[in-house]
């Protein structure tokens, strides 16, 4: 079986699974809706389905859309960072976007801002943090990847310390608990407006990424090879960093800092697709969406409250990861 064929099959299959879990997510939860009621409530205007329709459209549709898009955004930006920085251990928080966004959200929570203002503040703070990282990285060295990674570590550490100060000053009974809960990640605050905004950001970014999906391979070769093969390396690197930053900032703003997914999904995908971004990016999109929607279903179905997302993505992600690494150990570890 040729490689392209294999990817087409995997993509078709995972797209089908994505649609299936998407619809399933609309039906299951603490208030479960049968298939008959589901079909009735979306295909008719009958008032006997009003409760179901309201649950589906006002509660589950926005959070499932946001879950799917967040999964896509974090997986794709994880892959983009891993390829651009030639380092498989890198996750979307590399340049400080998650730490910065968390600080932005925490400040907004401290000031008693509304739900959407918290998201906005997180989004803006995440982007400003990365801009700061890039500026400081350029002070070290203009074309080295290491200087940028170092700057990311410095800024990330700085943001964590600001976070500690914010937590220290926060009221332990009210704001501190909201901040802590926000940091663990949740889709509970999803609204249709948020779903609309993140849709636009993710669709535009993913469209750009897909259009240059083959070219990202050449950026991944590093400055010397990429530039002498005939592309403007610095331009493409900053373009990719910008897209990955927008995607991560948007998802942290909507759902808090969700760990692991941006690290793990690209690895799982590469085990299937091999290292070629024109094959791995499409799979990252479907796999990331499925993984996050399933994580959201698990977080809101099993207990009366909601299990923090990072607990679920971390637990399941690491188990899946270990299993895959054991299966594919020969390929993964042979060249190190």
């Amino acid at each position: 079986m040729s490689r392209t064929k294999k990817i087409v099959i995997f993509f078709g299959l995972s797209l089908f699974i994505l649609l299936t879990v998407f619809i399933t997510a609309l039906m299951v939860g603490r208030y479960s809706i049968s298939i008959k009621d589901f079909v009735g409530s979306i295909s008719t205007n009958d008032s006997i389905y009003d409760t179901q329709r309201s649950v589906i459209i006002n509660l589950r549709l926005p959070r499932t859309i946001i879950a799917g898009l967040t999964g896509i955004a974090l997986s794709v930006s994880g892959l983009l960072y891993q390829e651009t920085f030639q380092n498989k251990l890198v996750s979307p928080g590399l340049l400080g976007v998650s730490n910065g966004a968390s600080v932005g959200a925490a400040i907004a929570i401290l000031l008693g801002a509304t739900n959407s203002l918290i998201s906005f503040s997180a989004f803006v703070a995440g982007i400003i943090t990365v801009i700061l990282t890039v500026i400081i990285g350029r002070l070290f060295n203009k074309s080295s990847s290491i200087s940028l990674i170092l700057a990311g570590i410095v800024i990330g550490g700085f943001m964590s310390s600001i976070m500690s100060i914010i937590k220290y000053t926060a009221d332990p009974d009210t704001t501190l608990s909201s901040i802590t809960y926000w940091l663990m990640g949740s889709f509970a605050d999803s609204t249709l407006e948020k779903a609309f905004v993140i849709s636009i950001i993710v669709f535009i970014c993913i469209a750009i990424v897909l259009s240059i999906s083959w070219r990202i391979n050449i950026v991944a070769l590093g400055y010397e090879e990429a530039q002498t093969k005939g592309i403007n390396y610095r331009f493409y690197r900053y373009l990719i960093i910008s897209i990955a930053t927008l995607l991560t900032a948007a998802s942290v703003a909507c759902a808090g800092a969700i760990s692991w997914i941006g690290l793990i999904i690209p690895h799982i995908v590469r085990l299937i697709s091999g290292r070629n971004t024109s094959r791995s990016i499409p799979l990252c999109i479907t796999f990331g969406g499925v993984f996050m929607i399933v994580a959201d279903i698990l977080s809101r179905t099993f207990t009366g409250g909601e299990i923090p997302l990072s607990a679920i993505t971390g637990a399941f992600g690491s188990i899946i990861f270990v299993i895959l690494l054991v299966i594919k150990k020969r390929e993964v570890f042979s060249h190190d």
Partner: protein
């Protein structure tokens, strides 16, 4: 035609790594930069492929100053082979070779039949067809270097610059790489600039030699005239000698004809 005039490059003031070099290269010939480690060979090659910015002096490819050639068009003027690429082990050889064609493709295009045909054609020229579906990491250092060089030819540039492409290889693999390079460079009338610290490579390639020391070109000419005890002692010291003067027989590879 490549014209280099009054090239100076330094990281620290008054410690030039390239110290006022000028020369001209004619198309379709093989040139060897010969010198010890640290003499400036790598820096010179990186300047010639635009990886380092000029401090002073000019580099012109066919009348175009290098800094004015857009990045994608540079791919048609020159290609570059480094000592070894470390970040390519996970790629399939076929995919990796297709990356050389990026300079002449639109930003949204993926390689199609035309591009893959070219990859196939050059792979068979270099005798590496059997590796096309393997990962680069599964190959030996010599095989990988052959693939890097094959990639440089696929790029279809007028000039190919190679920075010590054989320095990490054993004697046999050096011979394989050099023989293939010589044969295909002659077939395709490429201009080759090849840096090495082994004088025998210059003789093997029957090249024009630039002898480098401390960032300067101290002598140049055809290899048979330059690779002599007298000239080479300027950089290698008085102890160098011909193999027949030695108390044992030195081993080397023959050039196939």
């Amino acid at each position: 035609m490549i014209k280099i005039k009054n090239l100076i490059f330094e990281y620290n003031a008054n410690q030039p790594i390239i110290d006022n070099i000028s020369f001209e290269l004619k198309p379709g010939k093989i040139y060897v930069l010969l010198g010890l480690n640290g003499c400036g060979k790598t820096t010179l090659i990186k300047l010639l492929v635009g990886l380092l910015n000029l401090k002073s002096g000019t580099i012109e490819y066919y009348g175009n100053p290098i800094e004015r050639i857009p990045y994608n068009e540079r791919a048609n003027f020159f290609s570059y082979v480094s000592q070894s690429s470390s970040n390519i082990y996970d790629y399939i050889v076929r995919d990796y070779l297709s990356f050389s064609l990026v300079g002449n493709m639109k930003f949204y295009n993926h390689p199609k039949e035309f591009e893959m045909k070219k990859v196939q054609e050059y792979a068979s020229k270099f005798g590496i067809e059997k590796f096309l579906n393997k990962k680069l990491g599964e190959l030996s250092g010599g095989e990988r270097q052959l693939i890097s060089i094959c990639g440089a030819f696929i790029q279809s540039s007028k000039v190919i610059l190679m920075d010590e492409p054989t320095s990490a290889l054993d004697l046999k693999n050096q011979n394989i790489v050099l023989s293939k390079l010589l044969q295909i460079a002659e077939e395709e009338k490429k201009t080759i600039i090849f840096s090495t610290h082994n004088p025998n490579h210059a003789l093997f390639l029957d090249a024009t030699v630039f002898l480098m020391k401390n960032g300067k070109i101290i002598d140049y000419g055809i290899s048979k005239k330059i690779i002599t005890k007298g000239k080479l002692s300027q950089i290698y010291g008085e102890e160098i000698c011909y193999s027949e003067e030695m108390s044992y027989k030195e081993i080397s590879f023959k050039r196939k004809k």
